[in-house]
Each structure stands twice: as C-alpha cells, then as structure tokens.
C-alpha cells in the first residue's frame, strides 16, 4: 500500500494495556486505518528448555507446568506423552481418563477466561466480570480435584498423581449442570449483543486459505472453517473413543467468516463440547490403578535406563502443543527437550488479520488468538550483548545444515 505524508507509526507494546504479556507490534497507520504490522516477540524468554536439560525428569515435569499458567495441564500432559513414548511406559486406562477430565476442565476455564479478556478489550467490563464470576465454578472444581487453582500437578510418567474419589463425582456433575443451565445466557450475551457484534463482525478476518498456509492452530484455525483438532486428527489418551469432532461456526448454523465473532462462537461451542467430554469420561471411567509406577525411585531408575526419543501432541485450549524429548541411558534428565506452544503457530496469522483494520480493533484482534507469549518465546539470539535478528533464509540455511549434520 502507498506511503503518504499522513502515514505514521504506532508502537504497541512491549507494555500496553491491551496486552497481557510482552510483545511488540509496530503498526503503520494512516488516520485510523492500519496499513501494515511488524510483530516482534522475544521479551519473555526464560530459558526453560535449558533449565530442563539440567534437571532430572521429575523436576522437568514440574518445570513444564510453569511454562504457562493457563495451560498448566497441557504442557505436562504432552511432556509425559513424549517421555512415555521414549521410555516405553504404559499408562493405565483410569489414569488416561483422569488426564482427559482435567485437561477438558482446563479448556473450560481457559475459554471462560478468554471470554472475559475479550470483553474487556472491547470495553465491555460488565461481561468481563460476568465471565470471570461464572469461571469460579470450574476453578473450584479444579481445586477440589487437584488441590490447586493453577499448576495442578496431575500427570506423572506412567499415570496420574491423584485419583478422583466417588464423593467428588457429584460435585463435578453439579458443575456441569450449572454450566449447561448458564450456556443459553452466556451465548445470548456474547452472540446477540448488538455492541459486541458491531465490534467483532468482519473484524480481524483470517481467510481459510491464509489459515491453512500460515499453519494456524486451535480455535484460530477452526474459526476460519478448518476442521483441525489434534483430538480428532491424531487421537491420543482416550480421545479416540470419544468421537471428538473439530468444531467450526458451521456447527452453530453460521456461515464461516473467520472473524473475531466466529472465534467467540467456536470457543463457546468448545465449552459445551468439553462439558460433554467430562460427563462421558466420568461415566465410562473404569476402576483400577492410576499409575504404573507407584514408587518414584523405581520410576526414576526406569527413566535413567531409558534411551530413545518421543513426541507428544495435545490440543491445548489455544491449539496444538508439541514437546519433543530425547533420553539417553545413564542420564537423569532429557538430553534434548523442545517445546512448541500453540501461540507460535498463530503469530503469522496475525499479519493478515491486522491488515486494513482500524486502530480500535488492535486489542481485540491481538486477543482473538488468545496469545500466550511466555509459552511461546523459546529463542532469543544475543550476540555481544545486542539482540540479533535472523531472516527466513538464515533460518532455512541453518536447519539444512543441521539436517546434514544429523544425517552424518
């Protein structure tokens, strides 16, 4: 687009009220219209992988929980999957069900949290307070089942750390009933409010082709009509038995437009889907062991002997999260640990979403992918005290080099 004298640059971030975490956007704007955007991540790199590779695997598990406060079950679930694959550990069925229940509870609270944040970005604080008030029900259940509101410490290699007792079951059913009763009201306030619709319809549109080419994941991709969900495409745990289907706005009887409104629709649908999944898991959950290694020293000894590599994938509330782990015999920790959070895949879709929108749309478009910067920041290149930027060509060249090196 043409540059004129009235074009100027607006920096948003690394610290800005619209951003809950640190990232820097530089918008080129003309009046209120956005001509282009430059996204610069890298402000919250904490060297988590480096720390993990210097600790034993059980410590890494707790570290992985602290990658993200919201997805604090997603990362450990993926890590244990990867390690179990590498070390050849079986997981008892009951443990698999418990993992699914807790991760669906997490999706529930994450989507409700997002709904509140989105409402706040729109300047609709009443909706923020409403969403966060009803979110307390699922937080209470998480605390009841795991002992914590965040960082649940549920998965362990070979199973889970806590069982769900029969007395707890009715409380969970009570919560499911509460949300089902509330669902109509919630979808009414979000989907039928004229001011919400005015601010989200045809805003931040991501075309299906763009979503496909830029590898968008999670609700961001599904709102553009891509039926893409790890739980459906590559079933793991007991998701294979649950007939999980990736939901798009079509399932709500709407035409797919890929805008922010569609992203609200998809997340609301997923709240209902998670309720169904939790209910079904509770009904079908078999009795039995919850872990194949009740004693930690035995587990550590087994892991120390293990050799191999594993990949774990999971549909976190924001999209696909992947962990890669390589274990070497005689070593307590992983020799390689690689984490890919969903936000990483959803960064590039931001660029077409921001194009030709208005300054007023920046917060809601930024929030629409439900970004989590500290999950995503994995690399920060610093040379002699100064940050360095690598282009696509440079990165390609380096990865070719590495492949050649690996192939010997």
């Amino acid at each position: 687009m043409e540059e004129t004298r009235t074009t100027f640059e607006i920096p948003v971030g690394p610290v800005h009220p619209a951003l809950k975490e640190n990232i820097r956007f530089t918008f080129r704007v003309e009046g209120e219209r956005i001509l282009g955007v430059d996204v610069k991540p890298g402000f919250v790199h904490r060297g988590i992988e480096y720390m993990g590779m210097r600790r034993n695997l059980i410590q890494v598990l707790y570290l992985s929980e602290r990658i993200c406060g919201i997805c604090s079950i997603s990362h450990p679930i993926v890590l244990v999957q990867a390690v179990e694959q590498a070390a050849g550990i079986e997981v008892p069925p009951r443990a698999q069900y418990i993992r699914v229940i807790v991760s669906e509870l997490e999706r529930l609270h994450s989507h409700l949290l997002w709904a509140g944040v989105a409402a706040h970005e729109l300047g609709f604080d009443t909706l923020l307070h409403l969403s966060w008030k009803v979110r307390e029900a699922v937080m209470d259940i998480l605390e009841e089942l795991t002992g914590n509101r965040v960082d649940y410490a549920i998965p362990i290699y070979g199973g889970v750390r806590r069982d769900i007792s029969p007395e707890q079951m009715p409380k969970v059913s009570e919560m499911i009933r509460y949300y089902r009763g509330l669902f109509e009201e919630l979808s009414d306030t979000f989907l039928r409010d004229p001011s919400v619709e005015a601010r989200t319809r045809n805003v931040g549109v991501l075309e299906p082709e763009e979503a496909h080419e830029l590898l968008a994941v999670g609700p961001t991709a599904r709102a553009s009509g891509l039926r893409k969900d790890v739980r459906q495409d590559w079933p793991y745990l007991v998701y294979g038995d649950m007939d999980v289907r990736a939901l798009t706005p079509e399932d709500h009887g709407l035409e797919v437009r890929g805008d922010v409104f569609d992203k609200i629709v998809v997340r609301l649908l997923e709240v209902a889907q998670s309720l169904d999944l939790i209910e079904r898991c509770m009904e079908e959950m078999p009795d039995g062991e919850i872990t194949s290694f009740p004693k930690l020293p035995a587990l550590l000894a087994h892991l120390k002997k293990a050799e191999g590599e594993g990949i774990g994938r999971h549909e976190a509330p924001r999209g696909e999260v992947i962990h890669y782990v390589r274990l070497e015999a005689g070593q307590e920790g992983p020799s390689v640990w690689k984490v890919k959070a969903p936000t990483y895949s959803n960064l590039m879709p931001w660029v077409p979403m921001f194009e030709d929108q208005e300054i007023a749309d920046i917060p809601i478009i930024a929030a629409s992918i439900d970004p989590c910067m500290c999950c995503m920041d994995r690399v920060h290149v610093v040379r002699s005290g100064r940050p360095e930027e690598w282009t696509k060509q440079e990165l390609l060249r380096r990865s070719w080099e590495k492949t050649r090196r690996l192939c010997g």
Binding site: E32, F124, H129, R199, P363
Partner: protein, 329 residues
C-alpha cells in the same frame, strides 16, 4: 453587586466540584454493584484527586509545554463557567442576563477542544490519535445537540416567551404541558437524542473513544499526570454536573416547592435538593446504566450513528414541534 456575584460564583463552582465528585463516586459504586463487584468507597474520587495533587507533573520531551499546561486549566475554567449560566433548582443562574444557551453550547465544547489541544501538544502517537478521535467525536455529536437546543428554544419563543435563548426563560417554561400530543412526541425524541449525546459529551462508554484505555492507553490523557490530570478529572466532574443540569433545565425544570405550597428558605432547600436528585437521575440513566450495558464503539461507528440515526431523530423531533405549532398554535 460584583462582590456578591463573585461570592455566589465561588460557591456554585465549589458546590459543583463537590457534587461532581460525589456523583462520580456514586457512579462507580453503582456500576460496580451492577457488575457484581463491591466497588470503591464513595469518597474514592476525593482520594484520587488528593493523591493526584501531590504526584509529579511529568511533561513529555516532545511536548509544547505552555499549551500542554494551559489545556487542563482551560478545560476546568470552561466547565466551571457553564455552571454559572445554568439554573440550579429554584435558583436563577448566577450570571443571568449576561449570556444565553448559545454561549452554553460553546462553553460545553471548550473542555473537549482543550483536551484535544492538550493531546496534540503532548506530541506522542497515542495522545495524537486520541486528540484526532476527540475532534471527530465533537463533529459528530455537536449537530444533534444544537438541533435539540434550537428545537426547544424555537417552541418556547413561539409561545410568546422572550428572550427565548435565555436559560432562565426556557427552564421557567416547561414545554411538556404547553404543547399538543405531536409536540410531546417531538419533545420525547429530542430528550432521547440529548440523553444519547450526554455520554458522548462526557466521553463515557460506549463513547470513551478518545481515551480508550485498552486501545490507546488513555489517549489524549496518556501523557498527563499529577496536578494537570487532577484538573482534567475535576473538569470532567464539573462537566458531568453541567450536562445533567442542562438536561434538567431543558426538559424537567419542575420544582417540588410549588406542589407542596412551601415558601421561603424551606422551598429553596427542597427545590435544590430535588434538583440534585433530578441531575443524579439523568447522570445515572444516561451514563452509569449505559456504560455498564455496552461495549466501546469505534469512532467511525459513532460518527455514522450520530450523523444519520441520531441527527434524523433530532430533526424529526424538530419537525414534530413545527407541526405541533401549526396545529396548536
């Protein structure tokens, strides 16, 4: 005479400030209750002002200092002056006979202009965007506001009251009972328009576009701090009272003293108290309830909304009043 007027003015302005801050406190408390929160104590606005008064007054490097400092003072003075022209309950305006509704309209626009000037003078991107938005907002809501005022004044004049632009005359002539059914409908439309213009004039959600905390971090106020910010805050408090008082003066200028047959000091006190309740009711209906029930709109949506539906409604109200004149006389 002059000395007495100065004393009266000082009393009105101080009273207005006090009242404005109390209304702000009530607004915050009630909004919080409607959102399921506890909310701040009623005296929170007073605490805020006291705190801001002792905070550092930062001036950005690229700012135009004299304009940057002048803007909050200009806003406060203009907002205070409006109050002196408005009838407050049974009391006539302090400056009766020295200016009229047209002047009030201009004075109401001054704080907004001052804020825009301050925003531009700050010389940073967010404040510049905020200032541009403020100007667009003003261009949007000023016309329907003028139509409302002209409609009321014209109908008052046709009933043989003069000078028609005097607020004392307008508020002394409650039109509702003097016009026919068409006129009542027209007046209702004009009242509706004025109630929609009120939150826009006061930059409250859904029209808090020039400040838009989540978008431009406070917009034209982003660079202001300390005393300057406190002055803008006080100007806003005064403007809230002024807008409420304007709506009351134009549309609900009724008193209770006459109904109960009171006289003297008691009548004055009852009328002033009733006036405060009316102003609060207006502020509650058009600011508090609206800002709790809506999301922030975008500036183009607001401009379109004011230029087409609201202006049309205001003009329709005016036409109805004209028809009413033709029918009733």
């Amino acid at each position: 005479m002059i000395v007495q007027m100065i004393w009266q003015s000082a009393a009105v302005v101080l009273g207005g400030l006090l009242l404005g801050l109390v209304y702000k406190g009530l607004d915050r408390k009630l909004a919080a209750r409607m959102q399921g929160r506890i909310g701040p104590p009623l005296r929170q606005p007073f605490l805020d002002v006291r705190k801001l008064m002792v905070k550092e007054n930062v001036v950005p490097r690229d700012a135009v200092p004299w304009l940057f400092h002048a803007a909050p003072i200009l806003a406060l003075v203009a907002a205070a002056t409006v109050l002196l022209y408005l009838p407050l309950g049974g009391l006539a305006p302090v400056l009766t006979g020295r200016g009229d509704l047209i002047l009030v309209l201009y004075l109401l626009a001054v704080p907004a202009v001052a804020m825009a000037l301050g925003g531009f003078a700050a010389g940073t991107p967010f404040s510049a965007v905020g200032a541009q938005r403020e100007i667009v907002m003003m261009m949007s809501y000023e016309f329907p506001l003028a139509v409302v005022v002209v409609g009321i004044v014209w109908r008052t004049a046709t009933l043989g009251h003069s000078p028609a632009f005097s607020l004392a005359v307008v508020s002394g002539t409650p039109l509702w009972s003097l016009v026919g059914p068409l006129g009542v409908l027209g007046l209702a439309l004009l009242l509706l328009c004025l109630l929609v213009v009120t939150p826009a004039e006061l930059s409250k959600i859904p029209f808090d576009i020039p400040e838009a905390e989540t978008e431009i971090a406070g917009g034209l106020l982003v660079e202001y701090s300390g005393v300057n910010l406190a002055l803008f805050y006080l100007a806003d408090a005064l403007k809230t009272v002024a807008m409420g008082a304007l709506v009351v003066a134009l549309f609900i200028p009724y008193g209770l003293a006459g109904v109960f047959g009171l006289e003297g000091l008691v009548a004055g006190i009852v009328d002033v108290a009733f006036f405060l309740v009316k102003v609060f009711a207006v502020v509650f209906a058009s600011v508090t309830v609206v800002r709790v029930a809506m999301a922030r709109l975008k500036v183009d949506q607001v401009a379109r909304g004011f230029w087409i539906p609201i202006t049309t409604a205001a003009l329709a109200g005016l036409v109805l009043l004209i028809l009413d004149k033709a029918v009733v006389g």
